[in-house]
């Protein structure tokens, strides 16, 4: 995760670990290893507690995500729905090829905010902020 974010906590899952990084009202959840049915035992409540705080931007950093199954993918849909309800957004950074393939298979790639890294994400956020200021 980039230096501008501060790590708040880190937890082990059955197949890796998750860590929450925060920069102002931007929350980045770094998920490593396997995101499957077993790991949702830890990831699901952690994600719920993040969503309850209504972050303006929720970023999933998937740099070290090796396996994503349908149960893991489901968590992203839950996050998307929750963020939409209060006007927050969801973005994904550092997608590995196999994760990108899953998103593509799910027909989700064109509907999701996917960025190569935080710099690219920030560039997008800045452009969006300027558009809002111009009243677009």
């Amino acid at each position: 995760m980039e230096l501008s974010f501060n790590k708040v906590w880190e937890r082990d899952t059955s197949g890796g670990n998750i860590a929450l990084w925060i920069r102002g009202d931007h929350y980045a959840l770094h998920i490593s290893g396997t995101l499957d049915a077993a790991s949702t035992d830890v990831v699901s409540p952690a994600l719920d507690s993040i969503l309850e705080q209504h972050p303006k931007e929720l970023i999933f950093d998937l740099a070290e995500l090796k396996y994503l199954t349908s149960m893991g993918y489901r968590l992203f849909l839950i996050a998307l729905k929750s963020q939409n309800e209060h006007g927050g957004t969801v973005s994904f950074i550092h997608l590995q090829p196999q994760i990108q393939e899953v998103f593509s298979i799910m027909g989700a790639l064109s509907d999701l905010n996917v960025f190569a890294n935080v710099a690219e994400l920030d560039h997008y956020l800045l452009a969006r902020q300027k558009a809002v200021e111009r009243g677009e």
């Binding site: 077993a38 199954t69 993918y73 998307l80 939409n84 393939e101 899953v102 298979i105 799910m106």
Partner: protein
């Protein structure tokens, strides 16, 4: 051309068995220099089919003597994953494909796992033989 003699895993229908078998499958395939796309498909097959099977196929059954078998081999560069169980008959191919035109956050969750497997494999077949559900998933490895 990659060749790998069949190896079998026997699983009790419990969710905790998935991580154990997938750990062993990953180690075995990686040790044989199988491309990651093949390892991913094998892991995904075990996870998606076994969780479905435990949730629906064995629901309400005494599973003391029940078992799920996973057999993996590579013949002529083709990865062959055969998963068989003695749960209630269930044809995963009979499930309708998910409607990908519905807005992302409103899509039903059911059927996504089977959809992933169908898209990632080159062959997906189901049969009910000798009282067992037999699913065969294949992928030609590059």
């Amino acid at each position: 051309m990659l060749e790998l003699a069949p190896k079998q895993w026997r699983m009790h229908p419990e969710n905790s068995e998935i991580s154990r078998v997938n750990g062993e499958v990953e180690e075995w395939l990686a040790g044989a220099d199988v491309p990651f796309s093949g390892i991913y498909l094998a892991n995904l097959t075990v996870e998606e089919l076994v969780t479905n099977c435990i949730k629906y196929g064995y629901a309400g059954m005494d599973t003391t003597d029940k078992g799920i078998d996973v057999v993996i081999s590579i013949v002529g560069g083709e990865l062959i994953i055969i998963l068989s169980d003695d749960a209630a008959p269930f044809d995963p191919l009979a499930q309708a494909a998910p409607d990908l035109t519905i807005p992302l956050e409103d899509r039903p969750i059911g059927g996504l796992g089977i959809h992933m497997l169908r898209q990632m494999s080159t062959g997906f077949a189901y049969a009910f033989e000798n009282g067992r559900n037999v699913v065969t998933i294949t992928k030609q490895l590059v």
